[in-house]
């Protein structure tokens, strides 16, 4: 039996204490770098195996599935694992210089250690087939991300982390209640087994109220975690004040993993044919549309550009949950693909923010004046990221938005199509503000101080992301294939 699934979680989890043991910032960074690259390698191998020979199952400690904890990888979580490890493999080389500047030298080993624990938690959520195990990993990743956000250079990072802690814990507790109610219904914690018990005992068909309550709790809890529109209050502050690397990492992975959990619970546990699916679609539809429009409008009025991008993240999450609420094949594929593409473009945009804050010191709109000339590579990358965010053809963002629009047309939801297009136009406005300031607002002579381009170790990961954004916009066969397989799998039940 292949041990790949367990290695996926164990590598970062074991590397985390190593960072503290060596207690040296360079060694800690190097350990973290090796661990994330190794995890990326493992996830590539897993993805290859899943594509070739179907789902992988791994019984931990040799205890068979319904009793023991099993790790279960199909094309959906193989894809999520690729997103998470891929982003962290690019964020770690970037981290070296950025963290050196932002974090107190004595805390840096702890920083890398926490980052690895967070990564292990996110990978654990994605890979495990056990509902309670999922909760434990969720808390593991959340607790470390509270601490990581609190390490931000400004003092408001602390209040942002505290706010996130309160809201995150409430969300996690809701999920815990939901899982408990599912357990009391089925006597099982294994997701496949829960699904089997629910169907075999005809609990779904009878419209059981405990099941409905369980799903209400899980959906609300996860909506808090994934920052679905009215429950997004923790996100703007957390992303704005966190250290640059953490914003890159969390923005492109943490919310995606929460969306994955929602997909898993909705489609794999209840199954697509049930009555709840319909109500869930209706429940998620309105907040998603509100997220797309309201957050995009709010983003236009932000002067802190990191905050602007955080609001744009909420809007993009709206697109993903919109695809989810369509609950047909093309909508789901679009949602899953947009998880990947949003990770690419938001990772890229926050990387440019990190570079600007590295060279200039802050990311207010006024700091961008003249940056088009002073930091041409960073601003070039920002433009590519922005184009991808708007959904311009030849960028990754276009492919998933196009699929989303097609799915809406397929359902005959013309008003939704119009709202998606309005959302894209709003994105044009808020990205344009930054581009205009950077390229067309010259600096006064007095203000000419030496601000150079960001160092290469920031630029190389950034431009790798640029290449990824363009490459997957032109040749999107691989992610589309993955997304469609995953959607088929979700709709077919497990």
């Amino acid at each position: 039996m292949s041990h790949l699934p367990i290695l996926q979680v164990i590598i970062p989890l074991l590397a985390a204490p190593l960072c503290i043991v060596f207690n040296n910032r360079r060694i800690a960074w190097f350990v973290a770098l090796c661990a994330t690259w190794a995890s990326f390698g493992v996830s590539l191998l897993i993805a290859q195996q899943v594509l070739q020979s179907g789902a992988l199952s791994y019984d931990i400690g040799g205890w068979p599935a319904p009793w023991g904890i099993d790790y279960y990888v199909d094309s959906l979580n193989a894809f999520v694992l690729l997103i998470v490890t891929g982003i962290s493999a690019l964020a770690l080389p970037y981290a070296n210089r950025s963290v050196e500047q932002e974090i107190d030298p004595r805390s840096q080993p702890y920083f890398y250690s926490l980052l690895l624990v967070c990564l292990a938690g996110l990978l654990g959520i994605s890979i495990t087939g056990d509902a309670f195990n999922m909760y434990v990993f969720l808390e593991l990743s959340s607790l470390s991300s509270y601490a990581l956000i609190g390490m931000g250079p400004r003092r408001r990072a602390l209040t942002a982390a505290y706010q996130y802690l309160v809201m995150g814990t409430i969300g996690a507790t809701f999920i815990l209640i939901g899982i408990g109610l599912l357990y009391s219904l089925t006597g099982s914690l294994n997701i496949q087994d829960i699904s089997y018990q629910l169907h075999a005992n005809n609990i779904i068909g009878s419209g059981n109220r405990t099941l409905l309550t369980a799903f209400a709790f899980i959906t609300v809890g996860l909506s808090l975690k994934l920052a679905l529109f009215p429950l997004h209050l923790w996100l703007p502050n957390a992303y704005t004040y966190a250290p640059s690397v953490i914003t890159i990492f969390l923005a492109s992975t943490a919310t995606k993993v929460a969306i994955y959990m929602l997909l898993r619970f909705c489609y794999c546990v209840v199954g697509s044919e049930s009555i709840f699916q319909l109500t869930l679609g209706q429940i998620v539809l309105l907040p998603s549309l509100a997220a797309i429009i309201v957050s995009s409008v709010v983003a236009i009025f932000q002067y802190d550009i990191k905050r602007m991008l955080a609001y744009s993240s909420i809007a993009q999450i709206g697109y993903i949950t919109l695809g989810l609420s369509m609950s047909n094949h093309s909508g789901l594929s679009a949602a899953i693909l947009h998880m990947f593409n949003h990770a690419l473009m938001k990772g890229l945009l926050f990387m440019t923010m990190g570079a600007v804050s590295y060279s200039v010191g802050s990311v207010y709109l006024t700091d961008f004046r003249g940056l088009g000339r002073r930091m041409p590579f960073t601003m070039g990358a920002f433009i590519v990221g922005g184009l991808s965010l708007m959904g311009i053809p030849m960028t990754a963002g276009f492919v998933s938005k196009w699929m989303l629009v097609q799915a809406a047309i397929e359902l005959g939801w013309w008003d939704v199509v119009i709202l998606i297009l309005i959302g894209s136009l709003l994105a044009v406005i808020y990205i344009w503000r930054v581009v205009e300031t950077a390229y067309f607002n010259p600096l006064l002579e007095l203000e000419e101080e030496e601000i150079g381009e960001a160092p290469l170790s920031l630029l190389i990961p950034m431009w790798l992301m640029v290449i990824a954004n363009i490459y997957f916009g032109i040749n999107s066969a691989i992610p589309v294939e993955f997304a469609q397989q995953a959607a088929t799998l979700l709709l077919g039940g497990m």
Binding site: V136, L143, Y146, T169, L176
Partner: protein
Amino acid sequence: MSWVGHYNYWVAIFLMMSGFYVVISRGNLIKKLIGLNVFSTSVFLLYISMGKIFGGTAPIINEHSQKFQLFSNPIPHVLILTAIVVGVATTAVGLALTVRINERYGTIEEDEIRAKDDSL
């Protein structure tokens, strides 16, 4: 009858809602954490009630194992042991953040913190 019979669930719901109310209504960061603790403790009660049966014993096999036909389910209890550990960790992180907030702001009242942030 079933209303009274489920009194431990009512206690759990009461605790949960009062904890939730404290989290929302109090501005003091420590009080918020206390509310959060009450809130998550209620879920522990919910889980433990779930596994308990009147007259049930521990599911241990001995030579007279037939005597123990009625036993409580230990799994929810074990699960909640994990959740308690998570709760302790959350409280620890929350308190650590509160200490740091107090160091940097000189207060742990939410409105005063907000006023200090806005004045910048």
